[in-house]
């Protein structure tokens, strides 16, 4: 009997997302060249648009399905299990949340508006002073470069949470004068872009929100992204462990299946404990987020654990696969790279640890139990 990990979310939506993800994974893995991969990712994006993924949590009156966090979690879980190379947490969760009430929302729901989110603290090019909004000749001007931003294919907009004298949330068309993007594929297969804003004049129509509500909304959106990323990665890690077990059962060395060597057996047991812990702490954060009183601490702790466990389990899985672990031949190893990159999305370990220590909010987390 083949071992199957306990799922963090199950049900029809999960199954649908997982099936889509599996087909997509196989298709992408078969393509060797960069242009072909990019074209495939675009087809996949259109595919999830048609399936309504981006509209999951968008109200029906704005063209969405009017779903809730449970529906988003199901999609993230299904996509995550297959290591789907699309920005699910961002495009299905964070963008709709930040653009709630905005007229662009129906286009977001269909996938026609392809929005990349630039949150405060996004990586900046060394030589620039970051992204600034300033008053210039009586108008607002945006200037700066941000790099390594996860993105849908051919982004139509950047949704920028700009810090300045007055914080602003801006939805900037990618075609605006002074805006340039450079797209590339990350090592986990996802698309990212560098955005160059050269003295871009801010159109008042771009302003989604301004003032003190902007930091609040972006913090909440980042936490939603972190939570969905954790859910994705629980699924990815579960699949990775299952595949590692299968590999060790099937592969022989010195006349015996690798699965019979105690050192490897114990290593996989350790991986499983990491998995269960990540599943537990993520389930806890999801439960807290679904309760009346969401807890950013619960999410911060889950993301912190993901950073630790994601890397540890990926490294163990590569080791268990021996030489094959160094290649991209197997889906398992592609999942490893996904787990490694997830650490850097929506706040890494350092970010999460720093805010937990600073808030000294640790005793209050007991309330989430």
């Amino acid at each position: 009997m083949t071992f199957a990990t306990t799922l963090i979310v199950s049900g029809e939506t999960f199954e649908m997302a997982y099936r889509f993800g599996q087909v997509a994974e196989r298709e992408l893995a078969g393509i060797a060249d960069a242009a072909g991969q990019a074209a495939c990712i675009e087809r996949l994006w259109n595919g999830i648009g048609e399936l309504g993924w981006m509209g999951t949590a968008i109200p029906e009156e704005a063209g969405g399905a009017g779903g809730d966090l449970a529906d988003l979690a199901a999609i993230a879980s299904g996509a995550g299990r297959a290591g789907l190379a699309l920005p699910v947490a961002s495009s299905c969760g964070v963008v709709p949340a930040l653009l709630a009430g905005n007229p662009v929302l129906p286009d977001v729901a269909t996938g026609a508006a392809r929005v990349a989110v630039i949150l405060p603290g996004a990586a900046q090019d060394e030589d620039t002073g970051g992204l600034r909004i300033r008053l210039l000749n009586d108008g607002l001007t945006l200037d700066g470069v941000v790099v390594g931003v996860e993105t849908p294919p051919n982004p139509t907009h950047a949704l920028v949470a700009a810090e300045g004298a007055e914080p602003m949330l801006l939805l900037i068309p990618a075609s605006s004068p002074g805006v340039q993007t450079e797209l590339y594929q990350r090592i986990d297969g996802r698309l990212a872009a560098d955005w160059h804003f050269s003295l871009v004049t801010v159109d008042s129509g771009w302003i989604v929100a301004r003032g003190p509500e902007v930091p609040e909304r972006t913090a909440a959106a980042r936490d939603l992204g972190a939570l969905l990323t954790c859910i994705e990665c629980v699924s990815a890690m579960g699949a990775l462990i299952e595949q590692t077990i299968q590999y060790l059962l099937n592969r022989e060395q010195f006349g015996a299946p690798l699965a019979t060597y105690q050192a490897l057996r114990h290593r996989v047991a350790d991986m499983y404990v990491e998995y269960e812990n990540l599943r537990g702490i993520t389930a806890r954060a999801l439960r807290a987020a679904q309760s009346g009183e969401p807890s950013w601490q619960a999410i911060a702790f889950a993301k912190l654990r993901l950073g630790e466990a994601g890397r540890a389990v990926a490294e163990s899985a590569i080791q268990c696969h021996g030489g094959m672990g160094m290649t991209e031949e197997l889906p398992a190893i592609r999942l490893c790279k996904r787990l490694m990159m997830a650490e850097f999305e929506f706040g890494n370990r350092v970010f999460q640890a720093a805010r937990l220590l600073a808030a000294d909010g640790r005793t209050s987390t007991a309330a989430a139990d």
Binding site: M1, T260, Q262, A269, G280, I281, R284, A353, L357
Partner: protein
């Protein structure tokens, strides 16, 4: 039925009672991780007994509370949170349920009340030298002579034998070819002739465990629980009852909070900032592990309440939390070791040990090594998990 229970109100009720009725000196002993002897346990057991809470895990008809599994875990959690002695007496948790299930009405009448009110103190005589985790190979023999058994052999790792009245004991009553058979469960009064109790000196300098030598000890046959040769079944019954033992993470979280305070106090000031931050960071990682484990504990309670199988959850929780507790104790030692480790003294009973606040963590550090050894070592737990994962 359990839909009618307001668990939050239940938790509050327990907490109020604990805070109001558990004597401060007893709570101080628990809070500073000093040695829990019968002297500490008994008064609190008496108080609980008089309040009707003497046996949370027993059915009502035998003086128990009749609580459901979730209530029992809540009770244990609150005990830890309020620094009440963990109600983990061998008689109450281990033997009582066996007597209730397999004892005769006379045995129930004879033994249960003393366990319940705390007047009789029990220890468990299972382990033997050289047997390790391999209970089935035990060698202490009980030879039937009329209405008595003549017991000869040696038990080891016997916690609290030196302060107990009774030992419930697995003995070999016949030489069956299958090792699990031919084992019986005997209740042995520790004041019988032929019994010698020798303390085992443990690395933390405390007196926890003993060797018990049984040399021609005459035990009435009426002290046998259940049938002759079926002792193995009763032992297994116990193990299965204890599946939720790991679900209570409250003591771990309490320890973590204490060490967080310890680090803040011991390493206060700018001069020790780097050191303090390093330890705080490690504590944060430990905390994330405990939060994860407490969620798995919650799942376990849920599963038991629904009558579902627990699968690997107990092993996963045990494996994870035992290491996390060791980590927490290492962090504590890193905080206070330079100042206090040299003051922690070797010989138990030769005058008081140093009493400085924090020195308990030197002992806790040493003692915590046992967590990955007892109750199924980490190696055994990993074997169990791997067997499930690989199917071979």
């Amino acid at each position: 039925m359990d839909a009618a229970i307001d668990y939050q109100a239940f938790r509050a009720e327990i907490r109020d009672f604990a805070l109001a009725h558990c004597p401060p000196d007893i709570r101080a002993v628990v809070a500073s991780y000093r040695k829990l002897s019968r002297k500490v346990w008994y008064p609190w057991q008496r108080i609980l007994f008089e309040h009707g809470w003497g046996a949370p895990s027993w059915p009502k008809e035998f003086g128990g509370t009749g609580w459901d599994p979730r209530q029992r875990v809540i009770f244990d959690e609150v005990m830890a949170e309020c620094d009440c002695p963990p109600q983990y007496h061998h008689g109450l948790r281990h033997l009582g349920p066996v007597i209730i299930e397999f004892g005769t009405p006379e045995q129930q009448k004879r033994f249960l009340p003393g366990i319940l009110n705390g007047e009789d103190w029990w220890c468990q005589g299972y382990s033997e030298p050289g047997a390790g985790s391999d209970l089935a190979s035990l060698r202490t023999t009980a030879r039937r002579e009329d209405d008595h058994y003549m017991v000869d052999g040696q038990k080891t790792w016997t916690s609290h034998a030196h302060e107990s009245d009774w030992m419930y004991t697995l003995v070999r009553t016949s030489k069956e070819p299958k090792k699990q058979q031919g084992i019986s469960l005997l209740l042995i009064p520790l004041n019988l002739p032929g019994i010698t109790i020798r303390p085992i000196r443990t690395i933390d300098g405390w007196h926890h465990v003993n060797e018990v030598f049984l040399d021609g000890v005459r035990v009435p046959a009426a002290n046998r629980i259940g049938e002759e040769g079926q002792g193995w079944t009763y032992g297994k019954f116990l193990l299965e009852r204890e599946r939720l033992g790991g679900a209570n993470i409250a003591p771990h979280r309490k320890a973590l909070e204490r060490v967080r305070e310890l680090v803040a106090t011991e390493l206060a000031g700018e001069g020790r900032r780097a050191e303090r931050e390093l330890l705080q960071h490690r504590l944060l990682l430990a905390e994330s592990e405990l939060l994860a484990a407490s969620e798995l504990g919650r799942e376990s309670v849920e599963a038991v309440m629904q009558g579902n199988a627990l699968g690997m959850l107990p092993s996963v929780i045990k494996l994870g939390t035992s290491v996390t507790m060791q980590t927490i104790s290492q962090i504590a030692l890193d905080a206070v070791g330079e100042r206090l480790a040299p003051r922690f003294r070797r010989v138990d009973g030769a005058g008081p040990n140093a009493e400085e606040p924090g020195i308990e963590w030197v002992q806790n550090y040493m003692y915590a090594r046992v967590r990955t050894i007892y109750g199924g070592s980490s190696e055994v737990q990993k074997n169990v998990i791997a067997k499930q994962l690989f199917g071979i």
